[in-house]
């Protein structure tokens, strides 16, 4: 198991290098000048030139990348051009917010996906089974942006049950209950698509196992239905893990819309602003963090996979 994990960790290194190099090159090659964006058109050309030089932006791209990488390895992600603050100071709080939102959404995905999927697999022809199929199809195809607006219109503006955005109420006490109230709508909006996908995949996997030889032989040995189901769920769970891991990664990078609409100060919104301002150090730092989280989630999923299914370890 240790060797398995080590191998996966080593494989993560070229992945992270590749991702950061490609993003670095892409952002640097996209038209638009971070210094012009930061200073505005009123800045004298000399001031622009000088700042460009100080930031090392006139250096060749590979030199700048190597420089960035050298600093990043020592934990120094540089200074944001547009915010003039250390990148880590901006990224860490945003990452915390994104992880909070992602975790809340992922809980919904797992609970909802498993419940809907199991309902569909166990009683495919019942009303419940049909409703579960329809619900998961609806969740998958609902456009996130419109659903988010609809949720805001109904629950925040119309009924006023929940806040329309932010993490805490300016007029409130700022405690955990306040945070939870703010989490509900963005978490539901972010969870819908992955929830639907998870439900469909789990329904298919569990349905397949239940209709297969394993279930037949278990029943033939006289196991009670609950025990048969337990074994079948175990056998269907690698599929759940794979899709769950993928959806977690999808959530991590896909919350940008949700964060913007719900004014959630996470990494998606920060990255969006950074890209708009061509703020390369901030984009790089953000992408690195997302990539690390992405790779980390994948390693965790693989490890869990290996625990459940011994064949994977080799």
């Amino acid at each position: 198991m240790t060797r398995f994990l080590l191998r996966r960790l080593l494989l993560a290194v070229p992945t992270l290098l590749g991702v950061t190099a490609v993003v670095f090159a892409t952002v640097a090659l996209v038209p638009g000048d971070p210094v012009a964006a930061f200073l505005g058109p009123g800045a004298p050309p000399e001031a622009r030139r000088e700042l460009t030089e100080r930031l090392g932006l006139e250096q060749p791209l590979p030199v700048r990348y190597a420089d960035w990488l050298g600093h990043a390895l020592t934990g120094d992600l540089g200074t944001s051009i547009s915010g003039q603050r250390p990148v880590a100071d901006l990224l860490l709080p945003a990452l915390g917010q994104t992880l909070t939102l992602t975790a809340a959404a992922f809980l919904l995905v797992l609970a909802g996906g498993v419940a809907l999927g199991a309902l569909g697999a166990l009683r495919p022809r019942s009303a419940g089974g049909r409703i579960s199929g329809a619900l998961s199809a609806l969740a998958v195809s609902a456009p996130q942006y419109s659903v988010a607006l609809l949720l805001i219109a109904v629950f925040a503006v119309g009924l006023r049950w929940l806040p329309a955005g932010g993490t805490h109420d300016v007029f409130g006490d700022g405690g955990p209950i306040d945070l939870a109230r703010h989490l509900i709508l963005p978490a539901v909006a972010a969870a819908l698509v992955p929830l639907g996908l998870t439900a469909r995949v789990f329904r298919a996997a569990l349905g397949g196992v239940l209709a297969g030889e394993l279930a037949d032989s278990l029943r033939a040995r006289g196991l009670r239905p609950a025990a048969v189901l337990r074994h079948c769920v175990h056998n269907a769970s690698p599929a759940l893990l794979t899709i769950g891991g993928l959806q977690l990664a999808y959530l991590l990078e896909g919350v940008i819309f949700v964060e913007t609409l719900f004014a959630w100060p996470g990494i998606g919104r920060l990255l969006y602003d950074a890209l708009t301002a061509r703020d390369l150090p901030l984009v790089q730092g953000g992408v690195l963090m997302v990539a690390v989280a992405f790779v980390g989630v994948n390693i965790l999923v693989d490890a869990a996979h290996a625990v459940i299914d011994p064949r994977v370890r080799n």
Partner: protein, 538 residues
């Protein structure tokens, strides 16, 4: 003859507001000028403003969130030696008056300025304000040897303080600043050169000052939740009198639909730039909409170096072909006014007699025939998809495309993001290589920038527009410390530009904002900027 112009509360030529290319996002304005939102003598409450852009770095001039950040945060925390008078005569462009200086004199060379400093002012941390504080801050911006100087501060300060050649304290209450060139609008420039508490800057060092910013402004810093909000509290010792509000919270809500939802659900009680389409329904819900003109212009820069835009008749034809009123009233729901000339209406350079380009398609066709292109032509324009002050850039461009097509000018719209567009302009290029660029700007923010938009030697892409007479008028006016003479010079220069028609003049924004019925006492000036000391919340 040693003439010393003594100036007190000097009306600055042109208005205050400005969208500048990159500058701000967001807006301000009050219908017809005065109080847009209620009145009364109450006080207190928490004002929560939903801003359109990101939050600025609260270290003095760094900002980085355009004029909106300056308006809502920097100018509330800090002041310069001068400030805009935003509470009086809101049917006119604001004048510049004393802030940390009470008055000033300029010597006959039009370069040497002596400022008398206001006595009895303290920073929000209790540090007394004096000449040493002014010198400390100028050194922080201009002197690379100052321990508090940083590259970003130097670069960001260059826009307004870059013209200062030398500065010295003459006594505890006076400083002498010398500009590199004669500069008539220097006092207005200094409204943007913000003064921070030397004690606070030394305490944190420049690197961390943004986490504990201290100025002399009406509001003091409480906290910042990264990427989400900045909270300020009333400065009870403010030298003009404590603001009526208790607390001021600025939230970043870049999505227009999210801003409107936040206002409707009570999460904020004031939003900047509501989507024009939402205004009628917001009004129906009792929300107050405040608007007022400022020096904003939405326009196309035409490439005057290439056929057919190199022919003034063709450029004039295009200006007669477009229905600005329909764009202002139907598309933008009255949040903008039609622009028939170069000078935005809320500027001293505006002359109603110069409103020459009415909607007259017949005349447009006639001019095209005179120009030798009776059947029109095909051309292209690069349009930003967003960006501060750009209103609804693509829908406006589509309306123009329709109007121009009606007289035979077929326009291909090429969209790109704002950063790409201005990045290219700063290099003297057009993104996507079009024959024109659509954009907005606030022309008089500051006056020093006029040659950047209109001068033949501009390092920016200006459509290769060149009129030596305009160059000469802009240069001589800018140097003139006499405000009336300066304004007259600008008026003549801009009327020449209107006649040359290097631009397609489209609309002047009215800076709409939406306020909950509980918000009282807003005075909305003809400016980007705002004085929030009179506002309170029921």
């Amino acid at each position: 003859m040693t003439r010393t112009a003594r100036i007190r509360t000097r009306a600055v030529a042109l208005p205050a507001a400005a969208v500048l290319l990159t500058a701000a996002a967001g807006c301000a304005g009050s219908s017809g000028g005065s109080a847009g939102a209620g009145g009364g003598n109450g006080h207190g409450g928490t004002l929560v403003i939903g801003a359109t852009g990101k939050l600025p770095n609260p270290d003095t001039v760094i900002g980085g969130a355009g004029f909106e950040g300056k308006r809502l945060v920097s100018f509330q925390l800090y002041e310069g030696l001068t400030r805009y008078e935003l509470l009086k005569d809101t049917d006119k462009p604001p004048v510049v008056t004393g802030a940390l200086a009470t008055d000033w004199q300029v010597a006959a060379d039009a370069r040497t300025w002596t400022f008398t400093l206001r006595k009895g002012v303290t920073f929000q941390d209790g540090t007394p304000f004096d000449a040493d504080a002014v010198i400390f801050n100028l050194a922080r911006y201009l002197d690379k040897k100052s321990p508090e100087y940083t590259d970003a501060l130097g670069a960001a300060a260059a826009e307004y303080a870059g013209d200062i050649a030398s500065y010295r304290k003459t006594d505890a209450d006076h400083v002498e600043l010398v500009t590199k060139d004669p500069n008539g609008h220097f006092p207005e420039d200094l409204a943007h050169v913000l003064i921070a508490s030397p004690t606070a800057v030394r305490g944190t060092g420049s690197a961390h000052f943004s986490q504990h910013p201290v100025g002399t402004g009406p509001f003091s810093f409480v906290s910042q939740t990264e990427g989400q909000q900045i909270e300020l509290a009333a400065n009870k010792d403010y030298w003009r009198g404590a603001p009526k509000l208790d607390r001021l919270v600025i939230k970043a809500l870049p999505d227009a639909a999210a801003r409107t939802a936040a206002l409707r659900s009570g999460g904020v009680n004031w939003i900047e730039y509501p989507n024009p389409d939402d205004i009628d329904s917001l009004k129906a819900d009792g929300v107050q909409i405040a608007t007022n003109s400022y020096d904003h212009l939405w326009y196309w820069i035409l490439d005057t170096s290439k056929a057919p835009w190199n022919n003034p008749l063709v450029r004039k034809a295009a200006n007669y072909a477009i229905d600005r009123k329909a764009i202002a009233e139907k598309l933008l729901h009255g949040t903008a006014d039609p622009a028939y000339q170069t000078a935005p209406r809320a500027t001293a350079a505006y002359d109603p007699a110069e409103d020459v380009y009415s909607y007259d398609p017949a005349k447009a066709r006639q001019l095209l025939t005179e120009a030798g292109v009776p059947n029109g032509f095909s051309t292209s324009v690069t349009v930003p998809t967003g960006g501060s002050g750009n209103l609804l850039p693509v829908p406006i461009a589509e309306a123009l495309q329709r109007d121009l097509a009606a007289v035979g000018i077929k326009v291909e719209l090429r969209t790109t993001d704002w950063t790409t567009l201005i990045g290219a302009e700063a290099k003297g290029e057009v993104a996507l290589g079009s024959d024109a660029v659509a954009q907005s700007t606030t022309l008089f923010q500051s006056e020093a920038l006029l040659p950047l938009f209109l001068g033949s030697k501009s390092p920016f892409w200006t459509g290769h527009y060149a009129n030596p007479q305009v160059d000469e008028l802009l240069a001589s006016s800018a140097a003139n410390a006499d405000q009336a003479a300066r304004q007259a010079g600008y008026r003549t220069a801009l009327s020449l530009v209107t006649q040359d028609a290097p631009w397609l003049f489209v609309v002047n924004d009215r800076n709409p904002r939406a306020l909950s019925p509980k918000v009282q006492g807003l005075v909305q000036p003809q400016s980007w900027f705002l004085d929030l000391t009179t506002v309170w919340v029921r």
